[in-house]
Structure formats: C-alpha cells, structure tokens
C-alpha cells in the first residue's frame, strides 16, 4: 500500500478519516498505527474501507497526525496468527431458506460453506462485542433483509454482504439470521469482555439442536435507551439506525 495516495478527509477539528482501497489496507494501516501510536491519537476506529483517527488537540494536530499516517509502514496482517475460537451453531435461523434462495445453494450447502472456512474478526462497531467477520466463503454473499427486525435474539448467527456476525445480545437487526449459538460473546465481567476482538479467528461448528424450540428466545429486551423504538435501518449495520430516540 502506498500511504501517500490515501485519501485523508477532515472529520471535525479533532479527527481525520482515512479512506483506503479496501479492508485489507485498512487493517494493515490500523495494525501499523496501533503498534506505534502517534502521540495524541486517542482512538482508532477501523471499518470496511476507512480508518478514523481521533486526536487530542492539546497534544497534537491534524497536520502531524496526517503526516504520521502517510509515514506509517503498513504491513499486511497475517490472518493465521490470531487466537482461534470455535462457535457451536444450531442452524435453524428464520432466514436460512432465504439465504439459500439468494445464493442458489441448498440449506445444507449454506451450512457447509459457513462451517467450511475460517473467518477473521476485522473490526467492531454495531454493539459491544459485535465483530464483523470476514474471509468467509464468497458464495455466501447476501443482501441485508428488506426490512429490519425490531428484535433479534442474543446469539443469533447472521450474514450480510460478505460479512458474518454473532449478535452479542438482543437488539434490533437487519442481517439474515441463519442460526444461533449459546456461546456468550460479550460479558462485561469477563476479561476481555469481548470474545470476538479484531484479529481473532473463528470457525463455526454445527451443533445438534434436537429440541430446537428456540428462536423465540426469552432474554430480556436490550434496554436502557432514552428513547422509543428505533426505526430507520442503517445500511451496512447489523441493526437499524439508532440515532435520536424519544424526547428527554
């Protein structure tokens, strides 16, 4: 990657958004800047095509941060070195048939593709503990659902675009649900709280679900919002756009 050709965009007066050709470049740049954090940079937020840098204006400035980005030496991130997590999945998701339809595969083939490759957590973002999993089978590329669900149960295993993910808790969501896991992917009392951190490798394993009663799960609602039910679906996110809720 040639860092001199990256597009660096202002994000207010204390942030820069670096746009690169794709996810691999983002992860390489993120790894380089995370390992050798430029002075005053307080947060790095990698996403599918961008890396957001937030900085403390008392300690650095946009010019210095941009220079650090352009002088970084990104090296391709080896995807085979991270910790490996096995996720047992009962493949009885309500969208499994739709995913089969979209991909032209049988439901069994969808499961075989999903379990047959190693995924890697690229970045987080939607909710605490939600990791965007990449590197899976290209045959599983599917659009988001036309309409978001207001409530996706904890542990739902889902697909959207080329990503897969596990909902760490019940929340609204628009991804295609193909299964569910009992594995707890987020626990604030655990250290680290997130099982699926950037760089962690994931292998899905089909689990027997003889009493697969359970998509109508019974966890409590994800609460704590000031507002009302979110409505607009935010493209690319596993859930709807939770922006401003009700009045306060």
């Amino acid at each position: 990657m040639d860092t001199t050709t990256l597009r660096v965009l202002p994000c207010g007066d204390t942030g820069l958004l670096v746009e690169s050709a794709g996810l691999d470049d983002v992860l390489a740049l993120h790894a380089a800047l995370d390992a050798d954090r430029p002075a005053g940079v307080v947060d790095l937020v990698p996403a599918a095509r961008t890396l957001l840098l937030r900085f403390d204006p008392a300690r650095t400035g946009a010019v210095a941060v941009e220079r650090a980005v352009r002088e970084a030496n990104p090296v391709a991130v080896a995807r085979s070195e991270g910790e490996l997590v096995e996720i047992p999945v009962v493949y009885d998701g309500p969208d499994l048939a739709d995913v089969a339809h979209h991909t032209g595969l049988s439901e069994r083939d969808v499961i075989a593709e999903h379990t047959g490759c190693e995924w890697t957590v690229a970045f987080g973002g939607f909710a605490p503990g939600f990791g965007y999993l990449t590197g899976g089978s290209p045959r599983l590329e599917v659009p988001r659902r036309g309409e978001s669900r207001t409530r996706v149960p904890t542990g739902s295993v889902a697909l959207a675009g080329t990503f897969s993910g596990v909902y760490p808790r019940a929340s609204p969501g628009g991804w295609q649900l193909i299964g569910r896991t009992d594995l707890v992917t987020w626990d604030v009392d655990r250290d680290p709280p997130a099982l699926l951190r950037p760089g962690v490798r994931v292998r899905f394993v089909e689990a027997a679900g003889p009493e697969a009663t359970g998509f109508e799960a019974t966890e409590p609602e994800a609460t704590g919002f000031e507002g009302t039910e979110p409505e607009a679906a935010e493209r690319g996110e596993p859930g709807p756009d939770r922006t401003a809720g009700g009045g306060s």
Partner: protein, 318 residues
C-alpha cells in the same frame, strides 16, 4: 463512607464521567458527559480531578439527601437550586450539612445540569469508566428514587474558588461552528448552501445519542452506498430523509449514512444543551491544517476566513 440518597431522578439522571475512549474495536463508544466542559467545571469547583463521576441531570427534577456533610457544585444548564428549600447559587461551591436536601428545578435554558460531589461518585466502573452509555447499555443503571450513590474519599486539593462563570447557554437560537466533510462531496452544492445558511429546528427526538433536526432537506449529489465508517460526537449524519441527525456522547461507533459536516469539538458541549424547539445555525470554519475552507463554504454567507475562538455565538439570550 459518604453516600448520597437519590430522592427523585427527574426525567432522566445518569452517572457520567469523561467516558471510555479507545474501545471502538470491540464496538464500545466513548460515551461520557454530553456537556464535558460543564462536568469538568463542576469537578474543578469541588477540588476533584476533572474526570470524576458526577450526576448528569436532564431537565431538572433531581433531588437527593446527604448523609454526612458534603461539598457539591451544580453547573451546566442553569436551573434553580435549593438546599432545604432555600435558594443556592449554581456554578459555586455549596457546603451541605448532613441530612440536607438538594433539589434542582427545571432549567431556564439548556437541558443538562451537572452535580459534582467532592470525592466523586464511586459507583462500579465498566471498562474504565462510570458513564452510563444509553446506546450500548453499558455502565450504571439510570438513577431512580431510592438509589444510594457512594462518594469517594475527599481529594488532596481543596476548592480554590467559591464560584466560576459558567459558559453562556442559549435559549432560542445558537450558531455552531462546523468543518464540512468528511462526506460533503456526497451532497449537492444546494444542500451545503442550505446547511450553512438556513436555520434548523431541534425536534423532540433529542437524547444522549443525538438530536434529530428539522429544516431544509439535504439532497444527495449522487446515489451510492456508503460502507459503514467511524462516527464522532458532533457529526451531522444525513439519513435518506435528508434531515440531519447531530450525534452526541452516546453516538454509534460506526454509521452507514454520510456525514456532511462535523461540529468543532469545542461546540459539541453547546449542542448537548439544545432543547426541542430551539433553532440552530451552522457556520463553516476551515479544517485544521487545510489551506482553504471547503469549497461549498464559498456559497454561504457565513463563510469565515479563520476558525474563531471562544464559545459559540448565541442568539437572543445568554
């Protein structure tokens, strides 16, 4: 141990400090006080470290009783403060005896007031912060009547002043400075012109996550798909409706709609004091380290040659 008994939370009261930055990789936002300057001031007044945890009171209505003598300060949205029924001054050091009852009435301007207690609130921290993040559901529960707030040991520093001028808080209209971008090129020049010249109105959808604004629709220059990207407090994100949402402390870590402009960091506190019905104008300033203001600013009458300093200019009040 010093404790504070919550008698009434008002419409919404949470514990806040300066948040938990640096956790975006696991999907956790920074959160923290919506009006950080007011939280810092409250802490400085009582001799705390600036990042000690306080109560963020939304639109007054908060009441608490002391168990031991405590020193407190109330900052942010100016609200009538009473101690055992007698008026007390905001932005000042208040020494309360044991058993005193402090009440914050609805603010005359602004939305969020901060109650600092000398020693800070020492509720359990999550990922290094005691802030309640209402979007991700992290941190302490919303405060309720009957809650007991533990207060930490007094810090080494004593209060050095009896009072301090708070930042002026606007009543009707406020102008907030923005740097256009990062996705201003996704919008028509007419949209940028409208954003930088027309007033927007704060709707009732207004919480710690963000403020939905009503006003001229901001049309796209082209139809496209934006992969989700990192968001910041102060971002003006434009969903397909064309009506911008101004993100505050509990904004999502990433978002999939383009951001047309971002408030300068020092104006985010003023945005956290917006209340429904107020008017907001946006004035462009040059991006730091950039040779010239972003192109669309040239069409707006509010173009300013250089970033200004100080507090945002407020309208008729303050």
């Amino acid at each position: 141990m010093t404790d504070l008994d919550v008698l009434a939370p008002g419409p919404l009261a949470t514990v806040q400090d300066l948040g938990r930055p640096g956790n975006a990789g696991i999907g956790v936002g920074a959160s923290g006080a919506a009006d950080r300057g007011s939280l810092r001031l409250a802490n400085r007044l009582v001799g705390n470290e600036e990042d000690a945890a306080c109560v963020e009171v939304t639109f007054g209505g908060f009441a608490a009783r002391t168990r031991t003598p405590v020193t407190i300060a109330v900052t942010g949205a100016p609200c009538p403060v009473t101690v055992d029924g007698r008026g007390a001054a905001p932005n000042s050091v208040l020494r309360l005896p044991a058993g005193a009852e402090i009440r914050l009435a609805a603010p005359v301007r602004g939305l969020r007031s901060y109650l600092a207690v000398r020693g800070g609130l020492v509720v359990p921290a999550v990922l290094g912060s005691r802030s309640t993040d209402l979007l991700s559901g992290l941190g302490p529960q919303l405060l309720r009547a009957g809650d007991v707030l533990p207060v930490g040991p007094p810090p080494a520093h004593f209060p050095v002043v009896d009072g301090a001028p708070g930042r002026p808080i606007a009543a009707d209209e406020v102008t907030l400075r923005v740097v256009t971008g990062p996705r201003d090129d996704w919008f028509s020049s007419r949209a940028l012109h409208a954003l930088l010249t027309e007033p927007y109105t704060v709707t009732s959808e207004c919480d710690r996550v963000g403020v939905r604004l009503d006003g001229p629709e901001l049309g796209r220059a082209s139809v496209g798909e934006l992969p989700s990207e990192g968001m910041v407090a102060g971002a003006l994100q434009v969903p397909p409706s064309g009506k911008p949402t101004l993100f505050l402390a509990d904004h999502p870590v990433t978002g999939g709609y383009p951001v047309i402009a971002v408030l300068v960091a020092s104006d985010v506190d003023a945005a956290a004091q917006l209340r429904p019905g107020m008017r907001v104008r946006f004035a462009p300033v040059r991006a730091p380290g950039r040779p010239a203001p972003a192109a669309p600013a040239r069409t707006g009458p509010h173009r300013s040659g250089a970033p200004s300093s100080g507090t945002p200019s407020s309208g008729r009040s303050s």
